[in-house]
Symmetry: C2
Subunit: 389 residues, 2 copies
């Protein structure tokens, strides 16, 4: 090896077949990396079969992975790329220095020994979800505001007629205000599109963003998307207290997008009181005549961020004008859960991030990070175990 880098052993454990064009690219860029690809079997893949069984729990993932990944591989791996298959404990993978997760969140692993008892660097794929999830957000919001479901039923019945008074009453998003709680890659790309539609954006972040520098996106960005300089929002709100959240929620929002990580501090952050504030939304100081009296709620992050029974009540009581949800609590949502048919609610089964580009971008993020590591730069999306994401 001369003065070159150490040999590395990259272990990839995923449900999909090996993407040869990508593993070839990794080998070409980093000749000192040896790759072992383990495809988890379709029969053990809860997603390949009956989805009513839902997404596997961390415990199920661990069991499947420990059954399918030979002990020797865990022992020699120095890098791991996976959706959720981790070694049972740090000692099983003594050489592991980096785990790159294909998921954006790490909340499923909060109690896993690798998370609690090791200091192996963990990076997430946060940042690659901006385009598909923001497209889901825009789609679901417009489906609701333009009453698409009724139009679809009309098409199925071959009926040209429609409810003209209802449709004459719809509004578009020009001049409306969209609040975004959690101004990361998803929030920023949704902001970019809503802004193009003519809407104003209010951003809510944990830390203060009072300077231009602090408003920049420091994460991984899919090129040509997002709000890299943080110039889209008309107003910024910040804090980690209920009071700060309520100030943001009372800023005259026509829609609220929840794009926060789920941590013990954010669990059930949105409940009766928050929905009431959204529902009576004081007009902002510069728009005293703003008539919005209710807001549309969008959650693409985690079901646990919301007190779900309180949400169902707020929807059925018209406190909120409607909701678009790609996540629920629990998942899969039982067939008899009242959320399924809450008033004016669009609910989809955690699919907003899916798409052909997912894998390519998640690998690209690993490659980008490894190059940054080679140059001695800070990698993107390194999990802060204390913060929880």
């Amino acid at each position: 090896m001369g003065g070159g880098p150490d040999k590395e052993h990259l272990l990839i454990v995923l449900w999909e077949p090996e993407p040869k064009h990508i593993t070839a690219e990794i080998k070409q860029r980093f000749p000192y990396i040896e790759i072992t690809y383990v495809q988890l079997s379709v029969s053990s893949n809860p997603w390949g079969g009956d989805m009513t069984k839902g997404v596997p729990t961390a415990a199920e993932r661990k069991r499947i992975a420990s059954r399918m990944v030979p002990v020797e591989l865990w022992k020699t791996a120095t890098i791991l790329i996976t959706l959720g298959s981790l070694p049972a404990k740090a000692e099983d993978a003594p050489n592991l220095k980096l785990i790159h997760l294909f998921s954006a969140g790490v909340d499923h692993y909060a109690n896993h020994p690798i998370f609690t008892d090791s200091d192996i660097t963990i990076t997430t794929s946060s940042g690659i979800h901006g385009p598909p999830i923001s497209e889901w957000i825009i789609m679901a919001t417009l489906v609701a505001s333009k009453h698409y479901n009724l139009l679809y039923e009309g098409q199925k019945a071959h009926q040209w007629k429609h409810d003209r008074p209802l449709l004459m009453g719809v509004t578009d998003w020009v001049g409306k205000t969209v609040g975004i709680a959690g101004y990361g890659s998803i929030g920023r790309q949704a902001a970019r599109v809503f802004h193009a539609m003519g809407a104003h954006v209010h951003a809510y972040t944990a830390g203060s963003r009072s300077t231009a520098e602090s408003r920049k996106d420091r994460g991984y960005i899919v090129p040509g998307t997002g709000d890299p300089d943080g110039t889209v929002p008309r107003a910024w709100y910040s804090g980690t207290t209920k009071a700060s959240l309520h100030t943001f929620l009372a800023s005259g929002l026509d829609a609220l997008i929840i794009a926060l990580p789920l941590t013990p501090a954010t669990r059930h952050l949105f409940s009766t009181e928050e929905f009431a504030i959204l529902g009576t939304s004081n007009p902002p100081a510069d728009q005293p005549n703003k008539k919005s009296k209710s807001a549309f709620l969008i959650n693409i992050a985690r079901g646990g961020l919301i007190d779900q029974p309180a949400l169902v009540k707020a929807l059925n009581d018209d406190v909120l004008v409607g909701a678009a949800l790609d996540v629920a609590d629990p998942e899969p949502l039982p067939e008899d859960d009242p959320l399924w048919s809450a008033k004016n609610t669009i609910l989809t089964p955690h699919v907003s991030a899916l798409g052909k580009e997912y894998g390519d971008r998640a690998y690209d993020l690993f490659i980008t990070n490894w190059e940054r590591r080679e140059r001695g730069e800070k990698m993107f999306n390194v999990v802060d175990r204390k913060r929880g994401y």
Copy 2:
């Protein structure tokens, strides 16, 4: 009146009740304008009753209007604001100098005596449709690309499971190319939003737009929307020949938005040959590896722009990947028309422009125009009878 402007008599003939806040504003801005508001009766309004009867033809409109507008009003009116109620002939309204239409197109009136035998200035409401129609375009395109209809059926059945392989195969719009035939207010606002979503835009216009100056929007724009300077498109194509259209269609489009006026020259402009070109879409010179082999077609303009049986065949034969249509030929579309259930087709009954803001914006355009006229400036959207729009 001293040296002030002449007295004017503004006759408003519409189906909706008088919007008092707007007529009051007109009186305040232009005290010399007297207003008469005629609300066409609900019983005679084909839209207030059974929509299967569809949009009234020009002949029906004429009949309804001539029955409901007293002869004296036509005689004294100097300005007319209407959706489609015109005097039967120019002699019936000898003082009329301006007709402001609430519609964007004038194709319905091409054979009306006011159009063929008078030189009364006609202005349209072209320009106000950008936001709602572009929202319909984005909604319908995303509903198709993200298989929303299946997700909606899943929600109705309370099923968390979904077709994961299908959804893993969807793509988002980052790096895709959207062609826009007719780069007016609707095309420009759709371009603005697709660009924010990460897509490239190719524009097609009748006249050449080779200079920065020629790319500017000279029409009425809803503030904060559109592409006023024409800086969004990555490529411009122009012409009025089949050859020029085909060059545009072969430029590697993943979607084509038809936003052209319907004139004798554009009727059935899109037929078998055009769909074949879209379906085999040669990759653009700078993207030789572009794999798109088919395009999604969107028509929000007029059904007559398309050879509809040819479209149904192209969809059912997978020449096109799908379509989103808010217009059909004829309207209302008969219940047994094969377009209703053409493969991968979203069809809605000419509703994309509807919304609360429609009236306010159409009146605002009249007010803006009248102010321009007072200042001796050119008005927006003056119909060129020879060109046909």
